[in-house]
């Protein structure tokens, strides 16, 4: 039998050609979950019986010549913020223990229509308010390469599940980097589309004007296939390429801009070195890299904080009064902090957001995308609140948000993808940011960047790839 498919593109071609079956693949994923979830704590809920039934249905349809598209028969998980009819949407909180969804979230319904097999719901930082996944009513999710480390967050269980071979992709949410941060920490691809493109209906909110949903998966091509599905565009699989045709960047050399000021100012030394090596790989591939500056980048953290905490506090105020003890202590305190923000300061933050959006638009003029790290540090140790960078102690939460939150504030689409590894073998992630409203164009650029990294470099030599770790 051929080697097990590693990406959705490979799997979909194999399923369509009937070289394997959805039932066999789903069985393998469920077996992996049974074996590894006690260590990694990636899943909160597993839909064993439903998943097997969905897989058998997919096999019957494909055998009858009714192949629905690239996700048909593909095992996918959901961050446990997404409603699945008849299941509890826990948001990793005891606050939600009595909740049962009466219908599927829009994104879940679209995945089902596309024939995806929903294998379960993954662990997260409680209510998505954190970057490490440590504060969860179900305990922390753990990194597949080193369970003493965080897989990142808030979609940490999603990234751990995909990286460890428990599923082929997971759908997460991203309010300050919660898809891209764990994707970078685990050596995966994570897509945050343009704000508002994909429906958040049926998804527990954190901050509605910053919330995005998107996939965590193993290739840019896989991200493109899921993105197309979630926006209602289910084009047939391009068998030659494995994905929709327009994800390919044209043959013109890439023009990328690096916002060094602020974004590259506070990086772990190994991340900085890995990123510079990635830049060199891109130059060798013919890309042009120029330095740019987002003039008010230094204001982004304050703008973000006032928006996210105000909006989160509005959603949680009633529960904070009625059931404060059901929150994990740190998440409760961060939500309480938001209740003290004045309306005038929220309004200032909204004004600042417009400025940042225009400044990001401006630095994207004349280039195909921005190129910067996705995560300033490698996956941190669980329970460690600060990291030392350049002689200074930095709070882990702040430093993990530093490269990503700007594009939640601005709404521009962004992709995280692996670009190297530390000497310990921990992944280093890069990020490509595209023009507002052109997520498809961004995916084409990201695919070209990914292709430039496919030749043997530190990442592929040291890190053995998603699902093949350890």
């Amino acid at each position: 039998m051929a080697a097990e498919p590693q990406t959705i593109g490979e799997l979909s071609r194999a399923l369509k050609a009937r070289q394997t079956t959805a039932e066999a693949i789903v069985d393998a994923c469920l077996g992996r979950i049974a074996e590894r979830n006690p260590t990694l704590n990636a899943f909160i809920t597993v839909f064993d019986d439903d998943a097997r039934e969905q897989a058998r249905d997919a096999d019957r349809e494909i055998a009858a010549g009714r192949h629905r598209g690239p996700l048909h028969g593909v095992p996918i998980s959901l961050k446990d913020l997404f409603d699945v009819r008849g299941a509890v949407t826990t948001a990793a909180s005891r606050v939600r223990q009595a909740h049962v969804a009466d219908r599927d979230a829009t994104a879940v319904a679209m995945l089902r229509q596309a024939g995806a097999v929903i294998v379960g719901k993954t662990n997260l930082h409680e209510f998505a308010l954190g970057t490490t996944n440590e504060e969860s009513a179900f305990g922390p999710a753990r990194h597949p390469l080193d369970p003493s480390r965080s897989p990142g967050g808030s979609s940490g269980g999603s990234a751990a599940a995909v990286a460890d071979g428990m599923c082929y992709a997971s759908i997460g949410s991203d309010t300050g980097g919660s898809i891209r941060i764990p994707a970078a920490a685990c050596g995966l691809v994570g897509l945050k589309p343009t704000y508002g493109e994909l429906s958040t209906d049926g998804v527990v909110p954190l901050s509605p004007t910053l919330d995005h949903i998107g996939p965590i998966c193993r290739s840019v091509e896989d991200a493109a296939m899921i993105y197309d599905t979630l926006r209602g565009d289910r084009r047939p699989l391009d068998v030659a390429r494995g994905g929709p045709a327009d994800t390919a960047h044209d043959s013109r050399p890439l023009r990328l801009a690096i916002p060094r000021h602020h974004f590259l100012a506070t990086l772990d030394a190994q991340v900085a070195a890995g990123f510079e090596t990635a830049c060199e790989r891109l130059r060798e591939s013919g890309a042009t890299l120029t330095d740019v500056s987002v003039p008010h980048a230094g204001d982004i953290a304050a703008i973000y904080l006032h928006i996210v905490l105000s909006e989160a506090a509005a959603y949680h105020a009633t529960a904070l009064e009625r059931r404060p003890e059901d929150y994990t202590p740190n998440v409760r305190m961060r939500l309480e902090m938001g209740r003290y923000i004045l309306g005038e300061d929220y309004a200032r933050a909204l004004r600042g957001r417009e400025l940042i959006r225009r400044e990001v638009d401006a630095v994207l003029e004349g280039v195909d995308g921005l190129f910067l790290p996705a995560l300033a540090i490698p996956a941190p140790k669980i329970g460690v609140p600060t990291v030392r960078i350049g002689g200074a102690e930095e709070p882990v939460r702040n430093i993990m948000l530093r490269c990503t939150q700007a594009f939640n504030v601005s709404g521009h689409p962004a992709v995280a993808l692996p670009c190297g590894a530390t000497i310990e073998g921990l992944p280093i992630g890069a990020q490509v940011v595209g023009a507002y409203g052109d997520t498809t164009g961004l995916l084409g650029v990201a695919a070209a960047v990914e292709a430039a990294f496919t030749a043997p470099v530190a990442a592929t030599e040291t890190y053995r790839g998603p699902g093949r770790s350890r």
């Binding site: 704000y195 904080l305 923000i341 300061d345 004004r351």
Partner: protein, 120 residues
Amino acid sequence: MRRLRAMRKVQSEDVDASADQGTNGVVAVARWTDRRHDLCMPHLVRVRCTAMTVKAWLEMAIHDAERRGLPELKPLLEALAKATSALRTAEWNADATGEFASDAEPGGSRMPGPGPEHGR
């Protein structure tokens, strides 16, 4: 003619400036009594009119958090106060006097409201 406020870093006095300096005015605030025999008789309590500085806000917030039995909020509120100071002192803020018009938008024109091109 537009006048620009010079860009500057957040200074420590932005957080810790004395709340009451330069504010000599007083206002009368009606407040209900706690004494039962004074039902429906408001007391006029004279309080000093203070500027809503970050320091004043922080003191009130910490006091309220302690009243609510949440003293562990204090360091978080102090951190938030630093971020709020940064936000308030950013040179791109609007100002009703018109004296401090923002020139922060790329290209140098005055920053308008949310752009329709971003759909919000």
